[in-house]
Symmetry: C2
């Protein structure tokens, strides 16, 4: 199945655009799980079990797993294995390096840990991203317009060709996607009007949209701005942190249900 | 010791600007080491033992360790422990994420693995980099102008304010460094004239300079262009891949010696 077919199939099966961000820090795992051999993995499994009919995708952010050392690798592998094979997966790694080194990152997050897609930083340009574009069943979401304040430092800069930097990035990503149709774009939810303009600029690219909830983006505005494009709406804290108690998985399900109903 | 003091002290002790890039893929480790419990770690230890009076710094690129799974973590930890404490260390991670997530990366590469410095991608802007700037004894090298062809896609773009993007990045990095003087810049060796101009633009920033040797940069040109600024000249393949045989460590030492003599 290609990158886009896999997203569409997972969204059809769940009737949902919800991507759950598994940003699991040990400190945020409820106390009663700390006796488990791998509390982070136990937490993720419970979240997946409680939400797998509601989430079309799961997205672990590698930062949380790297900060957890060897146990983090174990948690990452176990989490990926636990996600049903027809649900879409994203390794949120935001990597980017010169070619020979990017090959190693692709080896890690496309083969060793067989995620359906990865997030990549575009700053180093074409030859730094080719390593990730060789397989039509493995996608890449490039950082386009991020949801944080600091986006204004570089992403919004006006170029002499009349575009903003993030628009130039978007145009390049469309080019990179021509051969295998395996690219998408990260577009922050906090900027619905820009999301709408980007959707018009790149109607064919799947968008990965973080920033709903904790970061302040409105789900209604995002869905309206996105129109008929393919979008994965990522929510992390509002689902995984819905309760700190023994009912964390139930609370996560309730939060996910509410979001999915709003989407439908 | 501050970021800059640690670099200066390591360079004075070794009378060298050589940084050895430990980009160790299992496939490049000589066959006779494959019986070791961790061949990558055994290789790195031998390289360090053979060159530690010649290299002022070591820089493992995380891609190689991530592609090696749990053994990679073991190799990374063992390598860092094996580097003498007065030699400077760089975790080449090129990360960058929103604040709460960057905190986790900082936790990983400043605390869990206590590297003296990290490399960071600037694309997400100020609030994405603050996590790394809190300690004056931990430095950050930001991707400024990289040594690959793809650098032209975005880094060289002309902005409406008259600067190129990499110049704008350089100016921001100087700002970010004001509080704790803990920032540096990655500047590719393949562009000596641009390196010279950046040195004039940012005389106080330490430069991390990859691209000598295998990537085609000339050591003489780089040293001349850099003048009296602080620079770490990174070489990976030309040292670590000098021989594929049993004499790999000796050959690495000979290659490092030649480079250091040229620098002196």
């Amino acid at each position: 199945m290609t990158f886009i077919e896999k997203i569409k199939s997972a969204q059809a099966k769940t009737n949902s655009k919800l991507c759950i961000g598994l940003d699991t820090a040990l400190a945020n795992v409820p106390e009663f799980l700390h006796g488990e051999s791998n509390p982070v993995l136990a937490f993720n499994k419970a979240i997946i079990d409680a939400t797998k009919d509601l989430a079309c995708a799961y997205k672990p952010n590698l930062a949380y797993y790297e900060a957890y050392g060897a146990k983090g690798i174990e948690a990452l592998e176990g989490t990926l294995t636990h996600i049903p094979s027809d649900i879409f997966t994203i390794a949120d790694v935001k990597r980017g390096d010169i070619g020979a080194t990017s090959d190693q990152y692709a080896l890690a997050y496309q083969e060793l840990y067989p995620f359906d897609s990865v997030t990549i930083s575009p700053y180093m340009g074409s030859d730094s991203v080719q390593s990730f574009l060789g397989r039509e069943d493995r996608g890449v979401f490039f950082l386009g317009l991020t949801s944080n304040q600091g986006a204004k430092d570089f992403q919004y800069l006006e170029l002499q060709n009349g575009k903003k930097l993030y628009e130039e990035v978007t145009d390049k990503v469309r080019e990179w996607s021509k051969a295998k149709k395996n690219c998408g774009l990260v577009v922050g939810a906090t900027k619905a009007s820009e999301l709408k303009a980007l959707r018009e600029r790149a109607p064919e690219l799947p968008f990965l949209v973080p920033g709903i909830g904790a970061q302040g983006g409105s789900l209604r505005d995002v869905l309206e701005a996105n129109g008929n494009g393919i979008a994965l709406i990522n929510v992390s804290r509002a689902v995984c942190g819905a309760s700190k108690g023994k009912d964390f998985a139930e609370a996560a399900r309730a939060a996910a249900e509410k979001l999915v109903e709003e989407m439908r």
